[in-house]
């Protein structure tokens, strides 16, 4: 699951993840998406850019 807040500054970033993922998978430039979503600082930007979602891989083994 995407962390609720940015590790460094504490900004709530998780609500932006679903839109980010959707638009990135559609082939849009991540820079533009992050700018649109109001992620100004590089600490918040890396939270979305470098996140790997594994919940779907874990869920079958519950």
């Amino acid at each position: 699951m995407i962390p609720v807040r940015c590790f460094t500054c504490g900004k709530v970033i998780s609500p932006a993840y679903e839109e980010f993922k959707h638009r990135r998978d559609a082939g849009e430039d991540p820079k533009k998406i992050l700018d649109d979503l109001g992620m100004d600082r590089y600490c918040c930007r890396r939270m979305l850019l470098t996140h790997k979602e594994i919940i779907d891989d874990i869920n079958p083994y519950q």
Partner: protein, 280 residues
């Protein structure tokens, strides 16, 4: 002391403050981060959790959700007349009961008090598949950022000195400093370099323009000099949604005032005066 707002929104603001000294600017910053109380979920009672996340991870994620706070409606648990047992005056209750499949969002936290709700309704908490279930009861309490970062009302909160750029007579308008400046603060105007109107506050005091000026072969001393006003500060305060930034600023200042008055009183007790007299 005066405060000039350049920008003031619900969740972020930028203002100049001056004349103040560094000690005041820093205590103001620290007061806003660590001393303004907000609500955050502290205790989570888990009745059922068959999701992929452990109970403690689930509780941690719920705790980080900012809760809109009405400071007049709540008191701190240790100051409450219930002696910390928990009552509607010191605790906001939430219940959440979700069955999969689907994503659990912060909007699924059902508040007892309709004015005390999660600041964002679309924070994903956990993804559930078929037959998974989460049933929890969460208690939010009032506390400050020095206890835990989840009670900080601010995210980015900092200050810098007000920049001061002086361009001397030796400037020949070669424009090398303009090219070097990463914040686009300078421009060539005729045969001289000048600061772009309204962009002086963007200057980060990096000094690259000074180096570029020296590199252009102007001599020993650069024509452009970057310094700062010692008694003027630019603050940037960003809220997390639990309190409007205006309230954060007011409560931060109030905290400093209360502390100073207490200090004055204590000094008065020790020295036997009111604290107003000058020490011999």
């Amino acid at each position: 002391m005066d405060i000039i707002f350049n920008r003031l929104d619900e969740n972020s603001c930028r203002f100049q403050i001056g004349p103040v000294n560094t000690a005041f600017a820093n205590s103001f910053r620290r007061a806003m981060i660590g001393e303004v109380p907000t609500l955050a979920i502290e205790d989570v009672r888990i009745y059922d959790n068959t999701s992929a996340l452990f109970d403690e991870i689930l509780a941690h994620r719920i705790g980080l959700i900012p809760i809109t706070t009405d400071l007049s409606g709540y008191v701190k648990r240790e100051e409450c007349s219930c002696n910390g047992e928990g009552c509607p005056a010191c605790r906001a209750m939430f219940t959440m009961s979700v069955e999969g499949p689907g994503m659990v969002y912060s909007r699924d936290l059902i508040p007892e008090d309709p004015a005390t709700i999660p600041a964002y309704d679309n924070i994903p908490i956990v993804k559930l598949t078929k037959d998974q279930k989460v049933v929890v009861e969460a208690h939010a309490i009032l506390s400050t950022g020095k206890m835990h970062a989840k009670w900080q009302p601010t995210t980015a909160c900092g200050y810098k000195n007000y920049p001061l750029i002086t361009i001397g007579e030796a400037c020949d308008g070669c424009g090398q400093c303009v090219e070097e400046c990463p914040r686009v603060v300078l421009e060539v105007h005729g045969a001289r370099v000048k600061v772009v109107p309204g962009r002086i506050e963007e200057c980060s005091l990096c000094g690259l323009c000074e180096k570029a000026c020296l590199g252009s072969g102007i001599g020993e001393e650069p024509a452009i000099k970057v310094s700062f006003e010692k008694k003027r500060y630019i603050f940037v305060v960003e809220g997390d949604g639990s309190l409007p930034v205006k309230q954060i600023i007011v409560h931060g200042l109030q905290f400093i005032k209360d502390q100073s008055e207490e200090l004055k009183e204590r000094i008065g007790e020790i020295s036997g005066g009111t604290g107003d007299e000058k020490q011999e």
